[in-house]
Subunit: 203 residues, 4 copies
DNA sequence: AATGAATGAGCTTTCATTCAT
DNA sequence: TATGAATGAAAGCTCATTCAT
């Protein structure tokens, strides 16, 4: 967590720092990201940086938190609770939320995707804390409900399906960022994907 | 390419060095992997290392070559050429090959998967050379053939499907490494996956 | 060029570093001169050195710049422009300037002389830039003027004479540094030399 | 001194090694000259090199000895002893000897000149042994005789004149190597130089 | 005598973090 | 709070020399 001093900063400065840091973490993986470059680019003193954050990890962690927060905003729109929702329709909305997030915050999207793909599990858990498990749990619960409502084939390994779905979701974001897909094409893509999953997984 | 001296080494020593290096590259990304640690662990002098390899990149590159070589061994078993092969059966064999490789050489699997996921495109291409394009081309050709034989739904975005399939293949390997799946469960898993794809993508 | 940080240093520290570096470059040629030794001797951290200079070459280059600057100070006293100057008298003054520089800054003298004698032409030009050509051009121009004013024998190979004169000038500096000549002896020496050149070269 | 094994080598091999080493020491100063490069170029094993020589210094020293030997051959032709020789004529012959040596053995010439100009006096003396003093003594003796025969101006600092003459001799060799002077131009050059010295130094 | 692998001290350089003002 | 200089462990790499066969 950033120190109190960081939050006392004028908004403009605080946001400038975050914007620069986001660029850096988008372009380089954690170990290659350079504090020197960040402070230089942001126009602040090195010492100041350490007044705001306890270190590189702290800054990175904060940015991941921001990403999670933003993403959650989009996911909130997905009305899971409402009854009688078709499972695949729900899944579609979850993917749409992810895609919109990726479109509106491409840097945050890329950064958090990269973290997801990181090999250093210890580091990952250190940064993500419990939110990774939460995300997994969310998907599994979704699948569980789908199964209970008889929408999903029996005998599927939900853990594995959830694992794959997460990867596919990440891949979606990457593909969109890479290809700079139009809104319309995106919908077509998603339609095909959901259709494939529906045909593949339904009871 | 390692220098001749490396290949002249007694097998035991050569393999020890590779084993240690594999561990290192499994645990750390390229930039964080340490030659000092490797030579210490392998019990050789630093100078010796540089008699064998021209540098860190050379060693890494060699390990990736080993991985490609081993993986190719498994892929050779896949009989693509034979006529009348069902597309999804073929895909299944390709995934099986990947899974076997991942099971038999988990370190190599992890290392090459991680390289695939690296964001440093220049580095990636430097190490992988053309084999990345080859792999993409292979999948696209497979899909193309499937389409021509009328096995695949019309109107699919092959680029995207190939993209997803690669990711899924990598995810498969990861899942297997993580869970230390039994042979039997693996087959079940794969069966479900292929079934899903078949139902989702067939004409 | 040293970084700004170097020039912001307290004078004492800055001069200590330069003094130590001068000793090092006096005693060892560039490739053998050791940054490790310099920072140890100067009592600064290795990292600090790289805050001040971009590398070994930068430091060396700066010292050569200092030498050039100091030497120029002495050469400024030589009134070349004024009319009716006897060529040999002018040459004498140029040599005197060199000698005074050598006496007052023996280390700088030795370092720059050694650079002049280096066989690595690429390196030399990298460090000296155009000032080497300038120096040659200066001498040739001097000779040219001498010839036009009818002070020099006809048919001399000016290129060769200039070549020799440069060497003699360097030799003078070396001799003086080696022998720690008194002011008086120096004048006598120089008088003889100029006399020799005058008798040898005049029309 | 090379070890006995070196002198037991077949002539062809011995000479090949020396030729390669000469090239290396011509192109690089001692510290930059590389044993690895030499053995590779000469086609011998590294271990073999150390059977022939005790180290890099030993090889270099041997080459300098060869140079001294060759140069002495040329100097032997100079008939110092004979009575009534004009001092400057004698000097001319000494220079001619040097020039011929430079022309016939340009590598050896360059190598020994570079050593002469080296800054590391300790190293120089270690390599040259007493021959440097001998050379100085030779010149001083020459001047002495010239003075006694009344050919030289009184009151000259012989040490200094000898110092300069050595430098001029070296410069001559360099100039010739650089410009690839024709035999004829060389004579003209030398004529001018001697004339200059004669006019400058005679009684 | 010939070989070439093995050695390790030493090099320059980097960079997150700490310190002093 | 803001600053930017100071730090030093650690990195990749080189190369003359030694060693074992």
């Amino acid at each position: 967590m950033p120190k109190e001093t960081f939050f006392n900063l004028p908004t403009e400065k605080r946001e400038r720092i975050i914007a620069v840091a986001m660029q850096e973490f988008k372009n380089f993986e954690f170990s290659q990201a350079s504090i020197s470059r960040i402070v230089k680019e942001a126009g602040i003193a090195k010492g100041s940086f350490y007044q705001y954050f306890s270190g590189k990890k702290d800054l990175f962690s904060h940015i991941i938190d921001l990403a999670a927060e933003k993403k959650l905003d989009y996911l909130k729109d997905v009305q899971i609770g409402s009854e009688n929702r078709d499972f695949f329709e729900l899944l579609r909305e979850v993917y749409v939320a992810g895609l919109k997030f990726s479109r509106d915050y491409p840097e945050l999207g890329e950064i958090s995707d990269n973290l997801m793909k990181s090999k250093d599990e210890k580091f990952k858990e250190e940064i993500l804390g419990t939110s990774m498990q939460k995300s997994d749990a969310f998907l599994t619960a979704l699948l569980q409900r789908g199964a209970e409502q008889g929408e999903l084939k029996r005998g599927l390994d939900f853990g594995f399906i959830a694992f794959i779905m997460t990867r596919v979701s990440i891949a979606l974001g990457e593909y969109v960022r890479e290809k700079e897909y139009s809104e319309k094409n995106m919908e077509k893509l998603l339609g095909d994907l959901i259709e494939m999953l529906r045909n593949g997984l339904r009871a």
